[in-house]
């Protein structure tokens, strides 16, 4: 494992690159968290045909997180499509009455897609209505007892639960992970640089005159970069979780696994660049030229949904898109089964890039 151990020594000598790989995402994450301390409330519609103290208290609870604007029922669809509102709640006349009588008291909700914010409101509404039904059941149609129960519930749970389902934290986490993924993408820079240096100085050829095989050289190189990627991922997760208190979903292990797979993709691109470039300057320029646009198109710096359709289509062919997609799903509480497709696509990227670089290096060696 001489090449592996040697690479670890060499990493330590490239202090600037290492600091860049860790510090760069952290700076952007810090900016992200500080700039979003006062989040802008999105607009929503609340059409109340019932007009009872219960519906009023529900509206009040929601106003902590959304702005309610005047919208009539007919224009809900257009407003949702145009993005003027992210959610619409319609309460029909008699809903509170039905609820108190322990009958079917339900509210209607409308939203375009399961965004993090809309799912937050949905979760809150469901929790609120479930609790209201439990209170209605226990008060057996007694209106004043029902309202007392609701008041107590609001005092003890409402604000807390709304804060809990607040999407501000999730938004920040997803956006921060975008910078982490960009940081992982920078590993390709050091990967290609070190391999190219070996070639430039004739060390690559010299190594192959020793009993070490080309496969072994490649394996040891990749293993050392993999270890570097691991250290980077673990450090960034720890910093995100424990310094910025980012909500990284129910399983840090799942986030770690996805980021490690992405790190492998980044290493594979680095090895591919090194097999095509003739100088470290060329490799450096190429890796920077690749990493930034690919990160942008993949949604590392902003949500992919805000980009034009054709750019989103291009994004489908980029590993960053699948990395962000997988991490977003995990942060929203999905388990690893939901990201198997994304992770498989990332692995496919890595395999293709490794095969291409291996074929190219074999060609050069011969």
């Amino acid at each position: 494992m001489a090449v592996f151990a040697n690479n670890l020594k060499r990493f330590l000598k490239h202090k600037f690159s290492l600091i860049f790989m860790i510090a760069f995402p952290i700076i952007f994450i810090a900016i992200q968290f500080s700039s979003s301390s006062n989040p802008i409330k999105p607009d929503a519609a609340f059409i109340d045909y019932d007009q009872t103290p219960f519906t009023h208290s529900l509206k009040k609870a929601l106003q902590n997180k959304v702005n309610f604007i005047d919208v009539n029922k007919k224009s809900i669809q257009n407003k949702l499509i145009s993005g003027d509102i992210i959610y619409a709640i319609v309460i029909n006349k008699g809903m509170t009455e039905s609820l108190i009588k322990n009958q079917d008291g339900h509210i209607l909700t409308y939203h375009t897609q399961e965004s993090n914010l809309s799912s937050g409101i949905k979760t809150f509404l469901k929790s609120y209505m479930d609790n209201a039904q439990v209170i209605a059941k226990s008060t057996e149609g007694d209106k004043s007892a029902f309202y007392q129960g609701i008041e107590k519930y609001q005092q003890s749970h409402s604000l807390l639960s709304l804060e809990k389902i607040s999407t501000k934290g999730l938004n920040n986490s997803v956006n921060s992970i975008g910078f982490v993924i960009y940081g992982l993408f920078l590993i390709m820079n050091i990967t290609s640089k070190l391999i190219i240096e070996d070639k430039e100085k004739g060390l690559f050829t010299r190594f192959l005159t020793t009993p070490m095989t080309l496969k072994n050289y490649n394996f040891q190189n990749i293993l050392s970069y993999f270890l570097l990627g691991n250290i980077q991922v673990i450090l960034l997760i720890i910093i995100l979780r424990y310094s910025f208190h980012a909500d990284l979903g129910p399983s840090l292990l799942n986030i770690y696994l996805v980021l490690i797979v992405f790190s492998v993709v980044s290493i594979s691109i680095g090895t591919l660049i090194s097999s095509f470039c003739k100088s470290s300057k060329q490799a450096n320029s190429l890796s920077l030229l690749i990493s930034t646009p690919v990160a942008m198109l993949g949604g590392c710096f902003w949500p992919i949904e805000i980009m034009p359709r054709f750019l989103q289509k291009i994004g489908d062919f980029l590993p960053t898109t699948w990395g962000i997609s997988a991490v977003r799903k995990l942060i929203y509480g999905n388990d690893f089964n939901h990201v198997i497709l994304d992770v498989s696509i990332l692995l496919a990227f890595a395999i293709v890039f490794f095969l291409l670089s291996s074929w190219r290096r074999q060609d050069i060696a011969q």
Binding site: A2, V3, A5, N6, K9, R10, K13, H14, K201, G202, L203, T205, R206, F207, L208, T209, T210, P211, M212, T213, A365, Q366
Partner: protein
């Protein structure tokens, strides 16, 4: 035989880099390999080291076929590449240790090998310094230390003295002799004929993928025995005069290097040459006659100057 190459052929598409070459190198020799650029020296070296596949023929090293026992064979070979292939970001000792490990050394064996290699090249006191602080000659010596850390039975040295001061050059040449006395067979590739002539027990001249002459320095000199070498330094000369000189009877080869005309002839042509130069108004500064050197042998056999092409 430590190396037995038989009927070796290597093609790069349509280009025949090695043309049915056969070569035998005995154990304990310092074998000089001379040839102009593109002659096939590098391809031959790469093939011997298993870096490139060959089309036909056979290569036996240490009595075993290269294809069959590549790993075992490589453990017994050291390469001093023409380019200084070391890490500037590692110290001298770390560089030598790395190569020791690559050749399978570990523990006390590695420690002893590294110390010996650094002492042999006179770098032990500087072992903790970075090669970036070294002079060209010291870097070349470190390049050698990395190749001998595992005490190879065969050492291939490709232009080990390019671009260094005379003191370092002498140090390296002395080291080559010392290594050879310790039992290491050496293939010495160089453009410096005087180096090859000074240290090599056998010399092969390679051109167009073939060995066109092989033997000791004396045996090679015999190939142009009786020839004479005339070195004339002039103020200036035009090509039409050189063309006229080529037509002088018995002139075998003429080269013009700056203002020096080198004429190899099968008999004395000094009178004809002087007359021709004077009649063409060429001002002569100096005339020297020599018996043929190894360089003259090379010039006669290949028709090309060696040193010019290396620079």
């Amino acid at each position: 035989m430590i190396i037995d190459v038989s009927n070796l052929v290597k093609r790069y598409n349509d280009f025949l880099a090695i043309d049915h070459m056969s070569l035998q190198i005995k154990d304990g020799e310092i074998f000089g390999l001379l040839g102009p650029n593109g002659a096939g020296k590098t391809t031959l070296t790469k093939t011997l080291l298993g870096l490139c596949k060959y089309d036909s023929g056979s290569i036996k090293l240490f009595g075993s076929e290269l294809i069959e026992s590549e790993k075992k064979i490589k453990e017994r070979i050291g390469l001093v590449p023409q380019d200084i292939a070391i890490y500037d970001e590692l110290t001298a000792i770390e560089n030598v240790q790395l190569f020791g490990k690559l050749y399978g050394l570990s523990g006390s064996q590695l420690k002893a090998g590294v110390k010996e290699a650094l002492e042999f090249t006179g770098l032990y006191k500087l072992k903790d310094k970075s090669p970036s602080q070294f002079s060209g000659g010291m870097k070349r010596r470190l390049n050698i230390a990395c190749a001998i850390v595992h005490k190879p039975d065969l050492l291939i040295m490709d232009e080990p003295t390019v671009g260094i001061d005379p003191q370092s050059r002498n140090y390296i040449l002395e080291s080559v002799n010392k290594l050879n006395k310790q039992g290491c067979t050496i293939i010495y590739i160089s453009h410096y004929m005087e180096e090859v002539a000074a240290i090599c027990s056998q010399i092969a001249i390679v051109d167009k993928g073939r060995i066109i002459a092989q033997g000791t320095k004396e045996e090679l000199a015999k190939l142009i025995e009786g020839d004479q070498v005339l070195l004339i330094t002039v103020q200036s000369v035009d090509f039409s005069t050189i063309e006229k000189l080529e037509k002088v009877p018995m002139v075998k080869d003429i080269t013009l290097n700056h203002n020096q005309i080198r004429i190899i002839s099968s008999d004395s042509v000094i009178n004809q040459v002087m007359n021709l130069l004077i009649s063409n108004d060429v001002q002569i500064n100096k005339i020297v006659t020599n018996s043929p050197s190894l360089e003259d042998v090379f010039l006669t056999l290949t028709g090309r100057a060696l040193r010019e092409e290396s620079n």
